[in-house]
Amino acid sequence: MKTAAINSQASTAMSAALSPQESIARLRAAAARLGRHANFMEVCGTHTVSVFRSGLHSLMPDNVTLLSGPGCPVCVTSQGDIDQLVELALRKDVTLCTYGDMIRVTGATGSLEGARGQGADVRVLYSALDAVKIAIAEPRRQVVFAAVGFETTTPATAAAILEADRLFLGNFTALTSHKVIMPAMRALLEGGSSTGKLINVDGFLCPGHVAVILGAAAFRPVVENYGKACVIAGFEPEQIAAAMALLVEMVADGKPVLANAYPQAVSEEGNTVAWGLVQKVFEPCPSYWRGLGVLPDSGLGLRAPYTRYDARIRFELGTPGNREPAGCRCGDVITGRATPAECRLFGNVCTPIRAIGPCMVSSEGTCQAWFKYQRVSKEGKP
């Protein structure tokens, strides 16, 4: 078993080959040294699900809480973006292609699933390139790809747009709501633009597959500028447990650094080819985040000459509105300001079968995870 040598200069590779028992023992020993409560946050929906499904929350010491941040792309996508997708899907000439995550999310005018029930041509894809294939095979249809997701997913959209461009496809567009995570992490630490209330976190469980693309170094500013511990983690429960142990140890020692607990996949510089494609096709733009408001440079919009593949331009859609369901506290939930149990709709009128907020719709949403895995305790602590 490799042991980790931590220093603040380089993100240190740490083998995650600790047994879960060892990890939990180290986590508890470090927590005992803390002498106070410590909050950590993960910012990846895949982490959310893995942590809930494995029961890791119940193994946490009482004075350590792992919060779920704005890491589920479906949950942070604005209601207006969803309305525009539904509007497009309902056009007779449009075939709307989407990843499965988006299909049940409800906007002001319904969901893509509902649109399909009304006869809309909505197709669920595994790969963005499949949308290009549909556009080639069905030249009389306008194929629109619902491009959502964080850095892990964006290179696939970039590749699809470049492929459409290479083939001069006139019937392929993307409705882009891609987002980047760093501005959201900064907004959480600085209070965001829609609220002045800071969340109090000691460190972040950093998203492993975003880091595959961006590189471990991308998270260094969180350590250097805000003094928060950052550990890049894989997605198996034992990998997350090891990363949590490391995080709590750093805080207990008063030495927050950046550590890479997922060195199998994450390099210091990331996948420069993939991110190069993203930069070729996209440019930073302001983007609306549920719970955080509009954050500058937190979205990715198509840059010239690829704007001709922008569905908002081709179909003259304008800027999406941002009305959110009445009473829904998803915005507070994904920023760590409220637990699902504190939302009056949770478990009453808002359930996975009839979801009101996106955090209940999405299989990676915090509310659905709470509901499914019965994470309810007297303190409202997960």
């Binding site: 029961g55 479906v74 790969s127 597959h209």
Partner: protein
Amino acid sequence: MCLAVPAKLVTCDGTNGVADLHGNRVEVSTLLVPGVKQGDWVLVHAGFAIQKLEEDEAQETFALLGDMAKAAGKEAAASVAAERGFSATTRPDTRKGGSK
């Protein structure tokens, strides 16, 4: 949404590859990982290989996961189960992966 799973490339022709994903053959684009070849381990996300994995590192993860799966099957691992976390919720056949 940021799911990605390790898989071994069975064939690779230009940027069109086929990967073995726990016995399933899936088409993957290798556009984002130039230089990979047949037999390489890659991390697959939404139809794209997004990272080449070094085999010994992939195996190291699998070895760990294998131990876990074995431990989960033994009574001796009751302590693991008693910790209410890992073994009870994850089936051995789904354990070989970076993430689900």
